[in-house]
């Protein structure tokens, strides 16, 4: 009963809020960027990082790209697909944006996919990771600045099987498309490298207590691979420690589980967790040192994947806008420029796009440690030039079904 009431109320609130929003459209000479982010609800923390990441980029460029002023218009999707659709329509039709950045959640992105195709508005997805958007269901107006869900888990699996020599791993993850894709990528490479996934549990997104899941893990595991968002990760790790498993079974995690956006709200239960990501705030390179220092000064927090994804979207934009001499109104040329972006140096290293508009990037294997009084993802190993297809041939990879709960099939369950 509560859910419909909640949705209705959210809808009403969003309608009211948009009614009050300024109708002003800036003078025609500025480039208008629409940012689809989240200000309310459980995803408010990562949503804020998106906005902070992009505004940091624009501040650095003094809100000017290729000599044209840039105007940023933000919209709160509340991580609700219906709201995302309305807001996107508004940004396109009322604010007449030239390009969109965001949204946060894959479900939002899938909801606005048709809208983007119809309106032919370039969009740079700075975090939405749904695999098929850059695989089997390509949208000509879509470029990703982050990475696909399974892309980075491949590296984690390789590291677990080859460097750590793990053989038996259990998987526990949110029962959400995103996490299903993350763990499928892990399982795919881990089992092809000789490991066995002996248990797979998908827990409901609102699981108040993980005791049941933690206590039914199989014996003699080398590790458990987890993929959670928001508060579920810390809750799982808490129960994991409470039942005496911490230190006995290693914990490997998907990127969002220990993202910097939430890492420092966690307790020391999280220390020692290994994860793979396409970014770590602790990455040692000059661009990142400056990026993190500025971000910390402005926001009193470490940047995580959402912040750096949005910042990367800014870098993409800059290069493409310069390539078309600021003429973003020439959509075809602008889109072509976006797709051929190549960033030589960024906080996360070199970024270039594959033929499917998904970045080929560094994958970092990270370990949570406490340094200078805060929790950090310390980089243990860097895999350079990781594509969404890992070491597989793209054609063969795409001939398989998309990563999901069922694919690749788990053949070693006990």
């Amino acid at each position: 009963m509560s859910r419909p009431v909640l949705l209705l109320a959210r809808f009403l609130v969003s309608v009211l809020a948009s009614g009050c929003a300024s109708l002003a459209i800036a003078q025609s000479d500025s480039i208008r960027i629409g940012l689809l982010m989240v200000k309310t609800g459980p995803f408010a923390a990562p949503g804020k990082q998106m906005e902070d990441g992009l505004t940091q980029f624009l501040r650095e460029r003094n809100y000017t790209l290729a000599g044209r002023k840039v105007e940023l218009i933000t919209a709160d999707t509340a991580a609700n697909p219906a709201v995302a659709k309305t807001k996107t329509q508004e940004l396109i039709e009322r604010n007449k944006v030239h390009v969109l950045v965001g949204p946060l959640a894959a479900s939002d992105m899938l909801a606005i996919d048709d809208l983007i195709r119809a309106a032919q508005i370039p969009i740079i997805a700075s975090s939405a990771a749904a695999e098929d958007l850059t695989q089997r269901k390509l949208n000509p107006w879509f470029v990703r600045s982050a990475g696909s869900s399974g892309q980075i888990s491949h590296a984690m699996a390789d590291y677990a099987a080859k460097d750590l020599k793990y053989k038996r791993v259990a998987i526990v993850a949110d029962d959400l498309t995103f996490s299903q894709e993350v763990v499928a990528g892990f399982q795919h490479v881990f089992e092809e490298s000789g490991g066995k996934v002996v248990q797979k549990i998908f827990s409901p997104i609102s699981t108040p207590d993980y005791a049941t899941y933690v206590t039914q893990l199989k014996p003699n595991l080398d590790a458990v691979f987890i993929s959670f968002s928001g508060a579920n990760g810390p809750r799982f790790l808490k129960a994991f420690g409470d039942y005496g498993l911490r230190g006995k079974v290693a914990v490997l995690a998907g990127m969002t589980t220990v993202d910097e956006a939430i890492l420092n709200t966690m307790s020391d239960d999280v220390i020692g967790v290994l994860s793979s990501g396409w970014y770590s705030a602790a990455t040692e390179n000059p661009e990142n040192r400056k990026f993190v220092a500025d971000f910390r000064a402005a926001n009193k927090a470490d940047p995580g994947l959402y912040a750096v994804g949005a910042y990367s979207a800014g870098l993409f934009l800059e290069q493409a806008v310069i390539a078309v001499n600021g003429k973003v109104e020439d959509k075809q040329a602008f889109m072509k420029a976006l797709k051929s972006v190549r960033i030589k140096a960024s906080p996360r290293g070199e970024i270039r796009l594959d033929d499917y508009a998904n970045p080929i990037v560094n994958a970092y294997i990270r370990r949570v440690e406490r340094k200078d009084g805060r929790l950090m993802n310390v980089v243990l190993k860097t895999y350079p030039n990781v594509s969404q297809f890992w070491s597989y041939d793209p054609k063969a990879f795409l001939a398989n079904p998309v990563y999901s709960r069922e694919w690749p099939p788990a053949k070693n369950l006990e």
Binding site: G47, D209, A211, T212, Q216, P234, K238, T265
Partner: protein, 286 residues
């Protein structure tokens, strides 16, 4: 055998949490017929208040008490200022309490931010304890004890004291109770405060396990509903038995068929509603 023992323990611990969550709801509904839709928000607010008290350097159980007092005060204000005006109008009450729930949730987001927050349990309750070949967390044992104490105290209050007799009289027939000189109106405020205080304390006690985050309110509300509807709305014994039944069903459901955890959770409620609409311990509607 071992797996059974562990999951049985988990079930009882979860049942303890459920009872702390649901008893306040059923108490309020029993006397005042108000389905308090803000109940989940009160649980969350209690946890947030507890968090701030602990951040201020005070011990865990002081934080529990502080959350109880804070929520009792809030309950008094809500009952006197808002709900009093819409007595016996259930639709208005539902809408008003939904609204209050939203206000609490948004105010919490404003004050405590969108990040998930952790409340650490007291140091002496941290970590696991070994019982034979069973490894169980100390804190969950403490949680079971707290819930048992709360259940016992409520039972004594309602069944053995003069105040309890007055509350029961008010539930049975408010008009006659009034005629007998019982101040049902003051009693209502008291019960609303007590229910709110209980759920506020439950929020702090549950936080070391479930943590605190925006959205916690609407994650907990359905659980309170299920327990209360299964047990019989307004019945404390019902909430007690309902908590245990749901605690077991939920835990063993997750252990056996993780994919259907939610189906298994709601199925018994649906069945009970079909066979016995008033719940296990409820009385048929007049």
């Amino acid at each position: 055998m071992h797996a059974w023992a562990v999951q049985t323990f988990n079930s009882v611990a979860f049942a303890g949490l459920l009872f702390l969550l649901a008893s306040g709801f059923t108490l309020i509904f029993g006397l005042m017929k108000i389905p308090n839709m803000a109940h989940g928000a009160c649980f969350m607010l209690g946890a947030y208040v507890g968090y701030s008290v602990i951040q201020a350097g005070l011990p865990f159980f002081v934080a529990v008490a502080a959350a109880g007092v804070a929520l009792a005060l809030l309950g008094a204000i809500v009952e006197r200022v808002v709900l009093r005006r819409m007595e016996a109008n259930e639709f208005a009450q539902v809408l008003a309490t939904v609204g209050i729930g939203f206000i609490i949730a948004d105010a919490s987001l404003w004050i405590w931010g969108g990040d998930a927050l952790q409340i650490p349990e007291p140091a002496w309750l941290r970590g696991p304890v070994r019982m034979g070949d069973l490894v169980v967390p100390k804190y969950r044992i403490a949680l079971i004890v707290c819930a048992a104490v709360a259940a016992l105290a409520l039972w004594l209050l309602v069944d053995k004291t003069r105040l309890g007799a007055m509350i029961r009289a008010g539930v049975d027939n408010p008009n006659i109770a009034r005629a007998m000189g019982i101040r049902v109106s003051t009693l209502s405020t008291f019960v609303f405060c007590l229910g709110s205080a209980l759920v506020g304390m439950g929020g702090v006690l549950g936080a070391p396990i479930i943590s605190i985050y925006p959205g916690l309110d609407f994650d907990m509300l359905p659980l309170a509903f299920i327990v209360v509807i299964l047990g019989g709305i307004g019945s404390l014994a019902g909430a007690f038995v309902g908590s245990i039944v749901i605690g077991f069903i939920y835990t063993f459901g997750q252990a056996w068929v993780a994919d259907l955890a939610y189906v298994i959770l709601f199925l018994p409620m649906a069945l009970v509603l079909i066979v016995r609409p008033q719940g296990l311990f409820g009385r048929p509607a007049a």
